[in-house]
Subunit: 357 residues, 2 copies
């Protein structure tokens, strides 16, 4: 526990320091084509990409104020991550702290703002993977840890296991000195309203078909992938799961290979979508496998997996990824994905499909 | 529930019928080279392969009586599966019923005979995947369902989810009419003794290193993969987990892509080993990915994954697999693996490394 406290203290000091220095480049140079950069085989200094969930996100359903809130939150998240990388911090720190911020913003379905289960509480999942060591950690179904992504990282760093669940995972996180909260900390009125709507729909239609598991077609999750100046890639994903979740359902977010994967030899990936498909298609690992075994570039690999294999299967969602050269992919088969990336001299924040990618 | 009961009744009648017909071929024609059949690209009628765990299994540690008990159980399991396939049953039925039998045999760490958790009870995991539809089901941390593999198959067939855990999974299994038992049903004196030994070891050495998580280096799991006469491949895995398990640890067995994978286009796979490595290396999916993306035969793919990638990483264990042509792989990097397979005119049952494979 001492070790953890020291670790967090050092992280905090570092964080304050880089915030004061305010050394972020804020130019936005969107790629007009709507596609991410063509593959570059010259390593760049650093790159960081984030998502805040994919789904039926349409301009007509969004107020200007809500739109601005999302963009501002995504932009702030990029600044947090970029500042860490610019100051020589590690991809692991950048991913954890960026996701911690997104977990604290109630707009996203992760940490504060997590959706409600069928019995009106919150169960959170997260996973974290280090592409240098291929070490990984994950937590499933936790209810009282403020920052699930930090718990996943702690599992990776301080346990001999990869995946811990339920009360056991909470006990472990507490032993590591992580912040605990009561389950009601995660409450938000708009998520409660969403649960009531889904329950009403369910009552109307008792034989809900598989495709209507997500009646609003919004897959709330947050994720971050970073390449640091040392050439290391780290990926992390955190979620509040599925509204009206029952039966101890586990989605792809805490599953290494499904929701999260990182490997310095190829890329890091964080997913968001209809989790059942992402597990069955081992989506995050499959992007790596395509690159490793068929030698195709990142964008081609993510396109094959998200726009071909998942679309053929009927699996909605998307992913973000960074390859070892700093190329970015933000690939989704839904009308929108809250997303953004930053690399030297370039920053993009987007929501809808027709925006810069 | 009516649907489930009808289903089980029809299965039972079918089962009795084929048992009476007693149409099994019992010839043993081991492959002297110690390697599985070279790849055959002519589809064969059917094939079924099983494992009962891998690890430090050495002749000198085994009594003749124990050795015979294991071989007899593996042989009986093959007969159950083969009879189903010979009578035109599906790979899914063959895999479920074969694993049900192995779950009932206390020799194996699955169902009756499951190991103990740190707090002296049993938590069981299983997963099931259909290579024709790529549908899958899994249960994690269940305590009162007699046949976890049947619960995993029920999740696949009757829920909109892939993975259910804990009490929620148990509630779902009960709603499907599956047999329930008290947790003490899984008790066996020799597993209790094993727990006490591990606890004593842990007391002696509080800073247990990662490599000593499995002090006896035995990875108890059971699994089955079958190719039926319709050309469909199904894989399943069931386990009692890890002796002295804490913190709600989840291994690879209930993780689709890690412990279990099936795809008619390539192969089906069931794993057994140090679960953390099998998750991080997405072992079951990786065998498929090697075959699908580099067009290598099954044996080469399993060799790469188990004897190269896992060995380099320090991950002990093994796997069984069947490809779409009926080729069998039983690949492990430990001194032994309880294993066997059957296909037309051929049956092998082995334990140690130097035996027919």
């Amino acid at each position: 526990m001492n070790r953890s406290n020291l670790y967090y203290f050092s992280q905090l000091s570092f964080f304050i320091l880089i915030f004061i220095s305010g050394c972020t480049s804020k130019e936005v140079s969107p790629n007009i084509s709507g596609k991410s950069d063509a593959s570059i085989e010259e390593p760049i200094q650093y790159a960081l990409v984030i998502h805040g969930g994919a789904g039926t996100l349409k301009r007509e359903d969004m107020t200007p104020d809500k739109d601005a809130q999302y963009r501002s939150a995504l932009d702030s998240a990029l600044t947090i991550g970029e500042n860490i990388l610019l100051s020589g911090g590690t991809a692991a720190d950048a991913v954890e702290k960026t996701i911690n911020y997104l977990e604290d913003v109630p707009l996203f379905n992760a940490g504060k703002g997590a959706v409600y289960t069928a019995d009106e509480h919150h169960e959170l999942d997260a996973s974290f993977m280090d592409g240098a060591t291929l070490e990984a950690g994950a937590v499933g179904g936790i209810t009282n840890i403020k920052h699930p992504i930090s718990a996943a990282r702690a599992v990776m760093l301080y346990s001999e296991h990869v995946m811990l669940t339920g009360q056991g995972a909470e006990q472990f996180a507490q032993e590591q000195g992580l912040d605990t909260v009561s389950n009601t900390y995660f409450d938000t009125p708009f998520r409660y309203e969403a649960l009531q709507k889904v329950k009403a729909l369910e009552k109307e239609n008792l034989s809900l078909s598989r495709s209507s598991v997500y009646p609003d077609k919004k897959f709330g999750t947050v994720g971050c992938v970073a390449l640091d100046t040392y050439g290391n890639i780290v990926a992390g994903t955190s979620t509040g799961g599925m509204t009206n979740k029952k039966y101890g359902r586990v989605g792809d977010s805490p599953i290494i290979g499904a929701g999260t994967y990182a490997n310095n030899s190829t890329c890091g990936v964080s997913c968001t979508g209809h989790g059942e498909f992402f597990i069955r298609y081992a989506v995050a690992y499959d992007v790596h496998a395509h690159m490793a075994y068929t030698n195709i570039p990142l964008n081609e690999a993510t396109h094959k997996v998200v726009n071909q294999k998942l679309v053929e299967a009927g699996g909605s969602g998307g992913l973000i990824a960074v390859d070892k050269f700093g190329n970015i992919a933000m690939t989704f088969n839904t009308p929108g994905m809250y997303r953004g990336y930053v690399k030297p001299g370039k920053r993009v924040v987007s929501i809808y499909k027709d925006e810069p990618n």
